[in-house]
Amino acid sequence: MLTAIKEYLSRPRRLHEVGILGMNCRNYAVIAHYNQRRLYPLVDDKVQTKLLANKIGITTPKLIGVIAHQYEVKNFLQVVKDYSEFVIKPAHGSGGKGVMIIKNYTDKVFTTPSGKELTFNDIYQHISNILSGLYSLGGQYDVAVVEELVHFSNIFEKYSYQGIPDVRVIVYRGYPAMAMTRLSTAESGGRANLHQGAIGVGLDIKTGNSLRAVQHNKPVLIHPDTKEDLLSIKVPLWREHLEIAAKAYEMTGLGYLGADIVLDRDKGPMMLELNARPGLAIQIANGRGLAAAIANIEKNYPKNLSWQERVDFVLNAH
C-alpha cells in the first residue's frame, strides 16, 4: 500500500526524467511558443493546406471538388460523376471526425469500406452536417472537401483491418522527431483512433521500421484481426516520408506539427493533412518521450538547414 502510494507520488518526477511530454507542457511550452496563432488556418483548413502543399511540391490526394454552400449539395452527383470512389471530409475537421469514405459508387448506391450501402439521401445529410459545422473545431460553418481515395499500398494491407493506415510524423523545428503508424482493428470499427482500440506502432525515425506496437496502452506483438507480426513492419520510401514531413515546416512555419502521410501504391507517399496540435499518444506507441526527443533536437541539431539537409541529418544521426 505504502509503496504503491510512493510509486504514484514519484511518477511526475520519473515521467519528467524519461522525457515524457504532458498535455499542459505541450500546450504551454511547445505549441504556444513555436506555433503562431495566425498560422493555424493554414493547417486547420484542408483546402488551404492542399493548395499550399501543391505549391511547395508535396503530393496530396487530388481534389475532386469543394462544396461550400447548402444549395450546391444537390449538385453533388455532378461533382463525383467521373469517380467510382472518393472521400468526403470537412475542411476544418479534426481527429478524423466527419470523414466519409466511399469505396464504390455505382447506380446511386454508395458503399463504404465496411460494406454498408448508403443512398444519396445519406450523403446529402452528411454533407449538410459538415456545412453546418457539426465537425468543425469551433462549430462554425464549414465546407466539404471531396478528394480522390488513396489506394494504399498493399504492403500495409495485411497489417490493417479496413481503413487506411497513415504515418504520423511529429516535426519539431523542421526536424522529424518521432513517427508512428496507426492500424485500425475490428474493435476500433475500422478507425485509426487509438483510444477506440486501434493499434499504434512506433516507427524508428531513422529507418521507418517498427519499434513496438501498443493497443490500449499495452504492448502487442501481432495484429488481433490479421494475425500479422507487428514488429516486422518496414515502411518503404521512408526518406520520402521524412521529406514531406520536413517540408511541412517550410510550408507552414509551425515549429511543432504533426504530418499525416499515406503511402499510395502508385503515387508514393502523400500528405493527407497537417496538425498544429498533434496528440501525445505517439509516445506510448514509441515507448519514448517526446520531451526527450525535443530536448535532443534543441541541443544537438544545427539550425538554418534546408529540408534536404535536415532529413539527411536525421537519417545519419546517432
Binding site: R11, R14, V18, G22, K97, Y124, S132, I284
Partner: protein, 517 residues
Amino acid sequence: MLKKFLSVRAILTIGLICSLIFALYSIYCKVEYWGLSFNPSQKTNIWTIEAHVSFMPTGEPIKVSIAQPTVSEDFKILDENIVAKKYQIKKDLKNNRIILTTKQAEDMQHLYYQLLLFDNEQAKGKIKAPAPAKPKKPVLDEQSLFNLQQLITLSKTMPGDVPQKIIRYINQETPDASVVALLPLKKSPQEMLDVMQNALSLEGIPNRRARGIKLAEDKKSFTPDYMLEAYTEGQWKLYDINNGKKGKPENFVLYQRGGISLVDVEGGEDSSVQFSVMKSITSTAKLASKRAALAQQQESFDNSVFNLPVLEQNTIKWLTIFPLAILVIVLLRNVVGVQTMGTFTPMLLSMALVKTGFIPGLICFTIIVSLGLLIRALMSKFNLLLVPRISAVVIFVILIMQALTLLGFRFSLDIALSAVFFPIIIMAWIIERASITWEEDGAKNACREIINSLVVAVITYFIISSEFIRHVMYVFNELNLVILFIVMLLGTYTGYRLTELKRFAPVLKDIEDVDRH
C-alpha cells in the same frame, strides 16, 4: 520588452502576491472595523438601555445632568436617543454628561435617555491604562483608622490579591469585630465601598468606584450595580464588592466611573432614576455600516457592495461565487485532466443544481437527458440540418420541462418542479453532443462524457452550495481578484495532469525496464 526582464510566470506571481496582500488587508479592515465575520450566521446582540429620570419640579429653572456611559472597548454605542420635550440638550464632552435645561415646569417630569449598544467581540480588554497617581491617605478619626488598619492586617489571611482579600474579609458570613466596628450589620453597597476604598487608599492602591449595568434580557426598573475598581498590575481591574470576583462580568456595561452621580437634578425634588434593558439580535452584516461609520470608514463602505439595494446584493452574491466555480473547473480540467462536454457546461449544471436542490436536480437532469436522447434518436431518421435540428432539440427540452413541471404540480412532486431551473440551451447541446458521440463512438463513450460532466458538476456543486463558502466569497469579494491570478497562473502550469500519471504509467514502466537492461 517586458519579457526580457520578467517571465510571464514571475509577473503573474507578483500579481498574485499583490492581490493576496490587498485581499488580506481588505479582509482585515472588514473584520476589524466593519465587524464582518467568516461565520455566515453570526449574530450580534444589540442592547437597548433606557434610563428613566423622573422628578417633581420645584418651580425653579430645571437643569438635569445625566452621566453618559464610559464606553469600554467591548461594547460600542450604536445610537443614542433622548426623549425630553421642551428641554434643551447639550453635551458636556469633558465630563461625559448630557445636560438638559428648561424653564420651570409644574407637572411630574419624565425624561428618557436611550442607548443602543452592541457587542464588539473583536476588542475585548486590549487597552492598558496609564498609571494613576498614588491615592491620598484617607482622613479618618483615630478609632476608625485603627479599626481599618486592623481589618487590613486580619484580611491578609484571605485568599486573592489585596483588593480581593479586603472584599472577602468584609463579606465574611459572620463578620468579626473590626468589620462590625466599621460597618452596620445591614450594610449598603455605598457604605461597603467607602470602607473598601479607604482601606485600599491606606495601602496605597489607586481605586475608584464604578457603576454599571448587567445586561440581561428584559430587565426592568433596576438601579445600576456598584463595583470596585483598583489599579493593580498596570491595569484597572473591576471587583465584585459582594464576593471579590475579579474582572468584568460578562455582558456588563460600565456606565460610569468615579464617585460622580448618575443623575443630578436642579430645580426638582424626589428624583429617581430607573433603568431597563432590552436585548435584540441582528445579523452582523447589517451592523457593518454603523461600525464603518464609527471607524471613520463610511465613505469606503458606501462604495462597497453592502451599500447596494438588497436585490442587487443578491445578484452580486450569485456572481461572486462564479470565479470559484471557474477555478474548480480549471483545476479539474488542467490539473486533474477530466474531459468534459464543453468547458463551462458542468459549471452551469452545478449552478442549476444549487437552485433545484441536489437529489431533485440529478433526477430531473437524468429524466430530461434520457428523454431528450430518445427523441433525438427518433429524430435522426428525419435527416434534418444541424441548426433546425438543434433548435428542435431545444424546443423538445422546453416541452419536457413544461411536462415535468405540470406533472410535478398535479401530483405534488417537488422533484419534477425543479425542471425549469436547468439551462435550456445547455441541456439541448448536451443531448445533441451525446447523441453524435453515441452514433460515432458508441453508447459507452457517450455515457462516459455525460457522467464525466455530471461528476465535475457535482464536485462544483458541493463547493458552491456551501453556505460558508458563499458567505465568504460574497462578504470578502476581493478574493475574486486572488482567484483571477490563481487561474492565470494555472495557465502557465506545465506539470503532468493526474490522469496522465495513469495514462503514461505503462509506457513509463516500459521505458524504465528498457533502461535497466
